[in-house]
């Protein structure tokens, strides 16, 4: 069997995907039996020019993790698309935006302000903000930075994506399964989510036997307000466990620690908007009639950040993509410093 030529690149990610890959530990051997890494800046001393020199479509699989947040990401993934036969969105950020996708509730200017102008520890008398080009007047050179884009985008908003591996991060098990799918004789249909389960988290949840046929709740709880019974379905305890609408495959790790599922494996097949589906599900378990509008409002108002609950990992891939009516902001200006 020919070895797969694999490239690996990261965009707006945290590195958890790579750590999880390393957690394969001795099983990495199997990975390297079936694959050669042709580009992977995390681990090996290869540079961008090495990729540029590769012939088009010469890489078998490009794994790309992290969402697209900077112009540089956009350029790199377009380059990798050209060089690769198969592109895989690796992990939840790349597939749906992930937690950094919550930044789509704000525009670029608000984000820059919160980082470079507003923090209580900032001392920034000239109101400097990172610029795409900084002119060094004495040295006569320019320093360039990639531009911060208006929104964080999932990978498939920028290039054509063949497969998706879910998880924040995908567990080593999920990665192994996905790899198997990629090297099998018959590839899965384009657009498939590979490596994880095709059933909901509830299906593999150790507490599933304690989940009643029908759940009806009068009250919702925020997790810090209660000490959960680790042996009983968390939903029945009023905690917003999103297991019923979330893809399984993680091994129910959070549940085993008595913490509710927050949805990091993303949507099941057939769900077009994860948050919409979560809202739909939560609506079915609230035990209030239309005559009890005020009471229902009170129950819902217990949760102060519904967007953060239902779209924690998928906002950029949602139907709305983020807050509607964010003002588009101007390009970052050029800067000049006396160096």
């Amino acid at each position: 069997m020919n070895k797969l030529k694999v490239a690996w690149y990261w965009c707006a990610s945290c590195g958890g995907c790579e750590e999880s890959f390393v957690d394969l530990s001795e099983e990495l051997v199997e990975f390297f039996e079936s694959a050669d890494l042709v580009f992977c800046p995390v681990a090996t001393d290869f540079k961008k020019e090495d990729v540029e020199r590769l012939p088009d479509a010469s890489v078998d699989v490009a794994l790309i993790n992290g969402g697209i947040r900077l112009s540089e990401h956009e350029e790199m993934v377009k380059l990798l698309r050209r060089k690769s036969k198969i592109v895989v969105a690796y992990g939840t950020c790349s597939s749906w935006g992930g937690i950094p996708g919550l930044s789509n509730l704000y525009n670029k200017e608000e984000i820059l302000r919160a980082k470079y102008l507003d923090p209580p520890s900032i001392n920034n008398p000239t109101h400097a903000v990172p610029a795409e080009r900084t002119r060094l007047t004495k040295l006569g050179a320019n320093l360039e930075l990639p531009a911060f884009l208006d929104s964080l985008l999932p990978l498939n908003a920028v290039i054509d994506v063949d497969y998706y591996i879910p998880g924040c991060p995908p567990t080593p098990e999920v990665f192994k399964n996905a790899l198997k799918a990629l090297i099998s004789e018959k590839l899965p249909p384009k657009g498939s989510i590979i490596g994880a389960s095709d059933k909901s988290l509830c299906d593999e949840c150790p507490l599933n036997s304690t989940k009643p046929e029908k759940i009806l709740l009068k009250e919702l709880k925020r997790p810090h307000e209660t000490i959960a019974d680790a042996k009983k379905c968390l939903l029945t305890q009023g905690l917003l466990c999103l297991g019923p609408v979330t893809r399984g495959g993680c091994g129910a790790l959070c549940i085993k620690a008595a913490m509710q599922c927050t949805g990091c494996f993303g949507p099941l097949d057939g769900i077009a908007d994860y948050g919409g589906k979560a809202i739909s599900f939560i609506g079915t378990i609230m035990d209030y009639s239309p005559a009890e509008e005020e009471e229902l409002e009170r129950a819902y108002s217990k949760i102060k950040d519904w967007v953060g609950v239902v779209y924690k990992y998928t906002l950029p891939a949602s139907k709305l993509g983020g807050r509607v009516r964010r003002e588009k902001t101007k390009r970052q200006e050029e800067a000049e410093i006396d160096e």
Binding site: L28, V42, L143, P223, A257, G308, A335
Partner: protein, 488 residues
Amino acid sequence: MSSRKIVIDPITRLEGHGKIAIILDDEGNCLRAYFQVPELRGFEKFLQGRHAEDAPIITPRICGVCPTAHHTASVKALDDLYKAPPPSPALKIREMFYNLFMLEDHALHFYVLSGPDFIVGPDAPRAERNIVGVMNKVGKELVLRIITIRKRIRKMMEIIGGRTIHPVFGMPGGISRPLSIEQVKEIRALADEALSLSLITLEMFKKIVLGNKSYLQLIESEAYTHRTYYMGMVDGKNRVNFYDGLIRVIDPKGREIAKFHPSKYLEHISERVEPWTYVTFTYLRKVGWKGFIDGENSGIYSVAPLARLNASEGMATPIAQEAFEEMYESLGGRPVHYTLANHWARVIEMIYAAERVKELSEDPEIESKDIRNTNFSEPSVGIGAVEAPRGTLIHHYETDENGVIKRANLLVATQHNAARISLSIDKAARSLIRKGEISDGLLNMVEMAFRAYDPCLACATHEYGSMPLSFYLYDQRGNLKKILHPNG
């Protein structure tokens, strides 16, 4: 003046994206090197509007390499926010978990990320400066043993924290659920092995690095020396503590100039913005920002292993203390200003972490069911700090009365080091690049200056992408499986 620019992009084997731009003059000499971090994600902004109790879930995504550091700093900020000190068993379990993390993270850095520079040798060809090269040098059995122990430590962390990457068990006032008796037993068994791993590492470090004169010269060379301030967290006896304590700052001569509770950090730390990088540079507020220069008049300081040891008077556990003394004797007393001594300090910290895990694992309190304090006060401000592997980490949240975050400020290890890293890179580039001679080895030396800090750029900018790791296994020539297959 005309000049040309070369860019090393991306810097490999470190966590986070990084660029080093080197400005050369017409003769090809380095005029100035800039360390640029092209990453931004905006955590400060999108934490706004989130439930405070979500911060320990959200902030680990700043960095998947040190998610435990963010999770723990965040949870400690929530203890403070709700004025709910956790019961003693919860604190001990958290601290044990935290030390397990420090241990495995340092091991990763030592063997995979920066180890190759030293163990294989800075002048070795690119293709050998990786984990495979390390194995060839120190023996496959040892490396396999280290990989196995690290894996077991991470498995143990998963059992305690829910997950290893992006743990979930920390809650304001304690942890989500107690440990089971079986779990406690397993932890106790693992603690001994963890300690032996650290001791092996120290022996190896001494043999390979200290036994080689040219390496020692490299450590002590002027190119990697900066006389700056140092910061680290200490216990009541001024000994290193990763989980809790006061933040202590010493000047370049080793004199204590500040010791403060993390909640007072704003009196001591400011951040500077430069338009050519997304990272901000922290400095000592009372000394002030004087540009990218070292010395007593410049507020630039350093964090991470060497800085932590410099800022303390010793280690709280016996074997680590011995190693601490040995290092300072060999390198001429505290403080040590050699950036590359970070590798040595890191090994000493591994020993401390392992000894501390052992102490805590033997404490009967970790079997207790008393793991949460839910007696909350109305929230408004919460500040929490830990020593992350890469240095002091501070989370600061301001909330409304419902515990919804209105403002978040995150000061992350690599930010504290960013100015000194810039100094290191600039100095190394100036002394190592001459007359246009930019060999592979020279460029790697520049990167080495950088990697000694174990910088985590994802953290530094909490803003972008990251890069973690490393693979132990990459080999261009493809004979990996032989090397790593356990028992042949």
